[in-house]
Structure formats: C-alpha cells, structure tokens
Symmetry: C2
Subunit: 229 residues, 2 copies
C-alpha cells in the first residue's frame, strides 16, 4: 500500500519495436541499475561485468543477469556489459530519453518541497506548474513557475503540456483533484496524499506515502525496545 | 527496491505484553487503517464495520478483518469495531504513542524540504536536528533548529536524543553518513539517497527512492504511447 501502480489493468500489448512488458519490481531494479551505470560511465568505465556491478553497489549478480536478459542480449560472457550502450537502451526502455512535464496540485509544505527538489534537478522530469486553492498561495513564485488557482487546473494542464500530475493535497480533496487532472487530459498520476484514490482505467496511478515508511520504522524500533525491556 | 526494510533479519522474538510480529506489508495496511479510523473518529463516529470502513476508503473488507484479527479480537460480529479503542491499540502497536526524534543528514533541497514537511506537522515524528558538510548551509535556521556541521554529527545525535536518522545526502556520501549515524547510536535509518546501503545488523534501514517511483510511471506512459504510435 505504501507504493504500487494501479489503473494499469488494461496493460497494452507489446508495441512494435518496443521491449517486452516488465514487472514493476524488476522495473525498479532496472531504474537502479541505470543509475549505477551512469555513475560508472561518469568515472570513465567502458565495460562492466554483472559480478563487478553487483559488488560495487551491493546487488545480486544472477538477478542483474536475469533482469537484463529479459530485455534482450547485452552482455558478452567473460567481457560484461558495454556501459554507454546499456545506459542508452535502458533510458529508452524507461522513457527517460524525453522530457516528462509535471504539474503539482497542492502547494503546501510537501508540494513546494517537491517542486524545489524535482524542479531544480535537471533530467527527464520537469515541474512546469503548481496549483493551489488557497488565495494566499496563488501568485507565489516557486522556481520557474507561479502558483495558479484551482479553478484554472484544466487550462494549466492543457497549456503547460503536463503529462504527469503530482497530488500533494490533503486527503479530503485528493479524489476530486485526481479526477480533475484526468478530465484535463493528464496521462499518469503520482499520489502523495495520505488516502486511497480510485484510479481511472487507462491512467496509471502510483501511491507514495512517506508517513507510512516512518511508521513502519517506528514499529521495528518499538519491537526492539520491547525485547530490551 | 523502491522501498523495503533491511537489517531486520535478526527480528526479535515476540516480547512479553506486545503484539505478535507483523509483516511489513500488513504493517503498511495497518498504518493506513489507523489513519482512516482517525478521520472517522474526528467525524464523531464511535463504531464502524469492516464493510463500511472498506467502502469509505476503497479497501477490502476481508483483508481488514484478517489484518486486525492477527492482532487480537477487536470486532464484534454485526456491530463492528469501536473506533477509539482500535485507534489506541493500533497506535501503541506501531509505537506511535510516544515521540520519535529524527535527525536529517544532508540539508540540500530534499533534506530541507523534508524538515519543513515532517517537522511542521504535529504527531509522533519530530525533526530535532539537521546536519550538512557545506559551510554555507551550516548555521542556517530551518524551523526549530539550526544546521550543524558534519564533524558534530555524533555530538548532535547524542545531545538531541534522536532515534531515527534521515539520509538525504548524495549517493557518494550515503554509506559513510549511515555508518556515522549508527556509530553515534541512532536506532533506525530512512535512506532517501539514490544508492544501496549495507545495513548494520540490529539497526533497521528503510529505503525510499522518489525518483524510482517517477521512472516507473514514465515507463507505463511510454508503454501506452508505444501502443498509440
């Protein structure tokens, strides 16, 4: 429940010229391999074996080989993977070879924090707009955009070309904001609001709940303390 | 890989007077039930059935009954759960009946964002200190604390009584910062740095990787676009 992609039940068939469908779990590992490979590439490393990749980043070599094998043939036995070619292939697979514009709905503490964090880092994800219903927040400049009022949501989505909606509103308003984003043509949503949202078929929804991660850790501390008392 | 608790392999046995060990997944659901119950309690609802709880928050009633049954007997058939009693029990189980102090290491965009987000919300989690190695950031006031230099990490942890370390440093420095926190006596770590960390036995480590969630969504958008082209 802390994270998961919903609304992908009608998963499209493999499209011509694209790699096969990959499970969310192995997708997360591939994201991570890509990040590791970029660090190695920056260090000037042209080739790496699965064994060395595993050693450097605390990963499993058989798992790396299995995950990459399902995407095609990259590694050469005894030689390893060619760093830059693999980076290019994985980036294309993940859709990171082009820009993804994002609009944030709810410019409270978390919303403005995410705008600063995501928007000020270069890369394929770019925050292009922020929306809030609080008149005190509307008009405020955050990074490269000015906060717009909730009534203009549909217009903001259409004019900014945003594909991804980021929900950081309180739990009560989350479903309505989600539905408004989908109506305006947004293609995928990340939900940081601490509530469950009914996804719309065809529009993937990803839940990220920071507080649940903290509570999980608190439970394990609690359990340990119980042991010592 | 986007999230998971490591370092809990030597999970302690059930401690006297405590509830049985709960899996991370059902723990996440319990966190969520607790949040739902608090909203209902605020609305003045004294009792709720699993069916109604499921309907209100898009959950599964059999799953709710199963998750709660493993913690003891709460519900009365045909009557439901008593809201406030269940809130109290679940809060105690999760260790949310007491304060958890947190120190954030790495006061860049994400670190200061989290300090503002977590620290300004009341509740059992409280950010009591922030640390950075950049002299320009040291001395800056963020909320209720002043950023302290990396050399003072051990002293800050000991004097602040922090139990949970929050890692928001770049990937390169994450392992060293983690180990320094553990040496200073921190009891659990949440890692937001985009790298894998080797946990220390007995100190739970929880990985939260925001960018991996974005990349997962980008992949699903990519897949859909492939279908339309």
């Amino acid at each position: 429940m802390a994270s998961g992609v919903n609304g992908t039940s009608g998963r499209p068939r493999k499209a011509a010229g694209r790699s096969p469908s990959v499970s969310p779990l192995s997708l997360n590992r591939i994201s991570f391999y890509l990040r590791c490979l970029k660090r190695l590439d920056a260090e000037g490393l042209e080739r790496i074996s699965s064994k060395e990749l595993a050693r450097r980043f605390n990963l499993s070599a058989p798992q790396i080989r299995k995950d990459l094998a399902q995407l095609g043939e990259f590694g050469i036995r005894g030689v390893g993977y060619e760093t830059s070619a693999l980076i290019e292939h994985l980036s294309t697979l993940l859709g990171l070879d082009r820009q993804h514009r994002m609009v944030i709905v709810g410019m409270g503490n978390l919303g403005s924090a995410l705008a600063r964090y995501l928007g000020f880092n270069s890369g394929p994800f770019q925050v292009v707009a922020g929306i809030d219903k609080d008149p005190d927040k509307v008009g405020e400049r955050i990074g490269s955009f000015v906060v717009r009022p909730a009534e203009e949501l549909a217009q903001v989505v259409r004019c900014s070309g945003a594909e991804i909606g980021v929900l950081t509103v309180p739990a009560d308003g989350a479903q309505a904001s989600h539905d408004a984003l989908v109506d305006a043509g947004i293609r995928g949503v990340i939900n940081f609001s601490p509530t469950r949202i009914r996804p719309v078929p065809g529009v993937p929804l990803k839940d990220v709940d920071l507080r649940i991660h903290l509570e999980e850790l608190a439970y394990f501390l609690q359990e340990r303390q119980g042991q010592h008392s």
